[in-house]
């Protein structure tokens, strides 16, 4: 059952992605990308990643959509028709895909508990979390303690982005503010 559910979600994801490639109205693209995030969140929850799924739903479908919509409000909502040939991008994507298929071909099959990944450090966290930190949600204990330094970095990333956006869009927009554009620098 689990597997069938996954398969359907995965196929939906692929379909939405094809939609995003094809649609030229950017509002539709944003709506589709919201749907993509919800599907992704469901899929993540189906794969037991409840924390990640919850975050993806809140961030991908929530915050990202709001940001994209407010950006669309300030810019243009229609994508111009493509002027270039798609051969090179297609070749690049196919090459990347080929390397990935090659790389993932031999990976342990889905759901195997005895892979190196599932029997090494990950397993250790499950055993150590309660005795060492008293926290039953292992994701929280790893996030905030065992790999808490990554999370400090992650907070710093958010901080950087926040101040960065502020610096770029600070103050009211004035005409001619941005272009000293007489072609000279």
């Amino acid at each position: 059952m689990e597997f069938l559910f996954n398969l359907i979600l995965l196929l939906f994801l692929a379909a939405v992605t094809i939609g995003i490639i094809g649609v030229r109205n950017l509002f539709a693209v944003v709506v589709l990308s919201g749907a993509y995030s919800f599907l992704m969140a469901t899929l993540l929850i189906a794969m037991d990643a409840v924390d990640v799924g919850m975050t993806e739903a809140a961030v991908g479908a929530g915050v990202s959509t709001v940001l994209l919509l407010s950006a669309l409000h300030l810019t243009n909502t229609e994508e111009a028709p493509a002027k270039h040939s798609n051969v090179l991008p297609m070749a690049l994507a196919l090459l990347t895909g080929a390397v990935l298929v090659y790389g993932t071909w031999d990976l342990p099959r889905y759901g195997d508990p005895d892979t190196p990944m599932n029997s090494y450090v990950g397993d250790e966290y499950l055993e150590r979390s309660i005795p060492e930190t008293t926290i039953p949600n292992v994701v929280t204990s790893v996030l905030a303690s065992y790999r808490g330094y990554d999370t400090l970095g992650e907070t710093a990333v958010i901080f950087t982005a926040g101040i960065g956006v502020l610096m770029l869009l600070y103050g009211r927009r004035r005409k001619g503010d941005d272009d000293e554009g007489d072609g000279r620098s």
Partner: protein, 139 residues
């Protein structure tokens, strides 16, 4: 959207619950899914909802951009401050075992609570601030 009575009433009822849910997610993060990041996003979402219904200006009267500009670095400082405190107690950076000399696992729990509070503060205020700057740009 300011004229829509139903939206205004529903959101007025909804927003306190959203904030309460955020607090639940924050403090229940040790036992169930959730934590500072998720809670921060939910808090921001509640305020964004308020701003969408009642207008950006009304929202900024409650939480001014200047206040958020302070809150963003403050969250980072809380997180890093825990690390500095563990330094002072003689441990490595972010070694929460130091926080409780009797029972290290208690110290761990305390440390996790503190840093999650820092994450909550930075994430919620940054998200809201970014929304302010984007929404305020158009007028």
């Amino acid at each position: 959207m300011r004229g829509h009575l139903i939206l205004r009433v529903v959101s007025k009822i909804l927003i306190p619950f959203l904030l309460m849910f955020a607090l639940y997610v924050q403090f229940h993060g040790d036992f169930g899914p959730g934590g500072g990041f998720q809670a921060g996003v939910i808090v921001a979402a509640a305020f964004v909802l308020y701003a969408l219904i009642f207008g950006l200006r009304a929202m900024q009267k409650i939480i001014s951009p200047a206040l958020l500009e302070i809150a963003v670095p403050l969250g980072v400082l809380i997180y890093a401050g825990v690390g500095v405190y563990t330094w002072i107690l003689g441990g490595n950076f972010l070694d929460y075992n130091m926080l409780d000399s009797h029972d290290p696992s208690h110290g761990q729990h305390l440390g996790v609570l503190l840093v999650e509070a820092g994450v909550l503060l930075t994430v919620s205020s940054t998200m809201l601030l970014i929304f302010y700057t984007f929404a305020g740009r158009g007028r």
